[in-house]
Amino acid sequence: MTVKTLTINDQLITASAEQTILDAAKEAEIKIPTLCHLEGVSDVGACRLCLVEIEGSSKLQPACVTQVQEGMVIQTETEKLKEYRRMAVELLFAEGNHVCAVCVVNGNCQLQNVAIKVGMDHSRFPYKFPKREVDLSHRLFGMDHNRCILCTRCVRVCDEIEGAHVWDVANRGGQSFIVSGINQPWGEVDACTSCGKCVDACPTGAIFRQGSTASEMTCDRSTLEFLHRARTKKEWTR
């Protein structure tokens, strides 16, 4: 294994030759935002948030698929990059129906986090309000296409780790959407092992566990009664 020395944001760092800029930066605690990268599955370079400037290259390069090279001089936080990143996030928000207030992952969402990171206080692009479907046919999980950003992390994790290849991308351009099986309801896809990897891989609330939304939660009266009894009558065991 050979070691390369390179500079990121004026900080001299070392990385092994096989590492990508993203990995090397992460090790050096330099955070480059990304939405489509997921450790353990292949990279697609699709979200364009991890683009960096490399001295000597006229094009911006995606850090997740660009390998380190000796003597590379990289900038990750130039004004141009910051502006482009914010625009990319705004485009994502404007493209889907991302209503944080009513989302299962509000407060725990990578899209929301990235929006904070890039300083998005509003979207300059008009919201498209597309009409999209919600698939609740699966016994355990749900797929809300309104919140999907097409990062394809579910597609890759299902194909590359679980080996089930339940998910894929259908259509193209702004009409693209994630399909289960051969565009069947998720619950009818025999290949699905219900492993839940896609739920964990999803950076937004698009793929979620059923029962996690507020309106689905059921009150367990007995728990409440137990607590009350425990406090008032010191009965700590059920």
């Binding site: 697609v44 370079g45 699709a46 979200c47 364009r48 683009l51 094009k59 911006l60 995606p62 698929v65 141009k80 502006e83 482009y84 625009m87 990319a88 485009l91 994502l92 404007a94 493209e95 300059r124 692009f125 008009p126 498209k128 950003i149 097409l150 894929d168 991308v169 259509n171 193209r172 351009g173 702004g174 009409q175 693209s176």
Partner: protein, 535 residues
């Protein structure tokens, strides 16, 4: 197959044509077929049979005769007469004239072959187009076909071939303009037993039909060029990726491959050399993005046709991870003449950095719509005003669009620019694959920009955010402008988003999608300003 057999076919075929007193060549490329060429040919055949003239007059289907707007076209040998807008009912008069009886008023109009449309052209890629029957390998051989393949296989090393192509200065005709010789040398130098050659025939720019015409008119030339390329880079398996919207080209390619196989010009030990070669056709399913090389490769592999980040380039890791040479139809079509006449000869045509000729599909508000091949460096003015005959009805040229959705508009005052890779790039457009659309004084440039943006948002594969979501917003902003609802802020936003989509998209489609907007903004900004809301 050996040289003797090849020469024998050549002579017999030539003799067969010469034996006839007259030869009527009917264009059966897509353009003429769509304007009714089939009925003309049927009538010609019936009439010749009816008058018992089959021994004297040969009616044959050929490829593109180039002046597409005046189709159906037929040309008569040895008279050098080209008839335009031939109607089926004029066939009798044509046959009569071949028999020396002049029946002028019933004859179709003769085309002036000394007109600049023909006189200024220099057919190299199209040298056989309209001359030979594209469905006859014998016809191709009669024009010296497959001799260069033999020459290369038996008398040149792969390195010699690459050198010759490098010497020619040929650059990729698909639009990028990457030096072909360098590309070949890169693939040739890559280690590995298995390599591939791919022909990109996924021509999809609106208004472009160069590759289609080449494939419909002279398919064997492309096959021979590919075989030579495969020999040069050390590949023995190749694919032609062609769009399903070109059924005639597909049919003719399939037939050509069959014929070549039958003659042993494809298969194993071609010309008794150790070189094996086969070509498979892959038909695209209607996605413009599959013209992008990495998306094309994914599609050939049977995957969803979406691009992937480069590097690695296909030359290093292409089809199934193996080194792959991928060139466009016209690039391969240039190979045979380069080998035949030499790289130096080819390099003597054109300009310093753009060698040889370029085929253009000349369309739009121009008198002579059709297919033209001119030396690089020809001025756009010469192409539009002389070859094209200018705008019909005394109109004036406002702009010329080149490079399709990835290109831009050249304003009238820059028409003296020569067509070259670099000069066009300086103007903010690209050579592209060869679509050239003339726009007259009444054209709204903002509408044009929106038309291309509509195309790009429709054809985006949806993989990367800027191209998928950015083009949609750009289209909306342009619509807002056209509906006179936009203000200065929207215009600023349009420009900023263009820059963002250009700089951050994953593949060429996205990176160049804003070009039609940027170039019209550069030259016709006042049209955008006029559309702004007064407030």
């Amino acid at each position: 197959m050996d040289l003797e057999e090849l020469l024998e076919i050549k002579e017999t075929t030539q003799a067969k044509h010469q034996k006839k007193r007259k030869r009527v060549r009917c264009c059966t490329a897509a353009g003429c077929l769509s304007s009714g060429a089939k009925a003309v040919i049927d009538n010609l055949n019936t009439e010749v049979k009816h008058q018992n003239l089959t021994e004297e007059i040969e009616v044959t289907s050929v490829g593109c005769l180039r002046l597409c707007s005046q189709g159906p076209l037929i040309e008569i040998d040895p008279d050098d007469t080209l008839y335009q807008q031939v109607k089926p009912e004029q066939v009798v008069a044509i046959i009569d004239s071949l028999n020396g009886q002049q029946n002028r008023e019933n004859l179709p109009q003769k085309t002036d072959l000394t007109h600049p449309f023909f006189a200024y052209q220099q057919p190299i890629v199209l040298e056989n187009s309209g001359k030979i029957d594209p469905e006859s390998i014998d016809d191709y051989i009669s024009k010296g076909g497959y001799q260069q393949l033999r020459h290369v296989l038996l008398e040149m090393t792969p390195n010699d071939v690459t050198q010759e192509v490098t010497k020619s200065g040929l650059r990729g005709r698909g639009g990028g303009g990457y030096p072909t010789g360098v590309k070949w040398a890169t693939v040739a130098k890559m280690p590995g037993q298995q390599k591939y050659v791919i022909c990109n025939a996924d021509e999809g720019d609106p208004g472009a039909f160069m590759d289609r015409a080449v494939l419909e008119s002279d398919p064997h030339r492309v096959l021979e060029g590919m075989a030579i390329a495969a020999y040069a880079v050390g590949a023995n398996h190749s694919y032609i990726y062609i769009r399903a919207e070109y059924p005639l080209a597909i049919k003719r390619l399939e037939k050509a491959i069959q014929q070549a196989k039958r003659y042993g010009l494809m298969g194993s030990q071609i010309f008794e050399s150790p070189f094996d070669f086969k070509i498979d056709i892959r038909v695209g399913a209607g996605a413009f993005v599959c013209g992008e090389e990495t998306a094309l490769i994914a599609s050939v592999e049977g995957k969803r046709g979406t691009p992937r980040p480069r590097p690695p380039y296909p030359a290093e890791s292409g089809l199934w991870g193996d080194p792959t040479l991928i060139n466009n139809v016209e690039t391969y079509a240039n190979i045979v003449p380069i080998i035949r006449e030499g790289g130096d000869w080819y390099a003597s045509i054109g300009t310093e950095n753009s060698k040889g000729t370029k085929v253009f599909a000349l369309t739009g508000n121009v008198e002579n719509n059709g297919l033209i091949e001119v030396p690089m460096g020809t001025s756009i003015r010469k192409i539009v005003e002389e070859i094209g005959g200018g705008v019909p009805n005394q109109g004036t040229v406002k702009a010329v669009q080149t490079g399709g959705p990835s290109g831009g508009c050249i304003p009238a005052h820059l028409l003296d620019t020569p067509v070259e890779y670099d000069s066009l790039q300086k103007l903010g457009t690209i050579m592209g694959s060869g679509g050239m659309i003339v726009m007259d004084q009444d054209t709204s440039m903002v509408e044009i920009a929106r038309f291309y943006m509509d195309f790009c948002q429709e054809e985006s594969c949806g993989k990367c955010v800027p191209c998928r979501a950015g083009t949609v917003q750009l289209y909306d902003l342009l619509t807002k402008l056209i509906e006179r609802k936009a203000n200065q802020q929207d215009l600023d936003k349009l420009e900023a988003l263009c820059q963002m989509v250009k700089d951050t998209s994953l593949c060429g489609l996205g990176m160049t999608a804003p070009n039609p907007v940027l170039s019209t903004l550069q030259y016709f900004r006042e049209e955008y300003i006029t559309l702004l809301q007064s407030t």
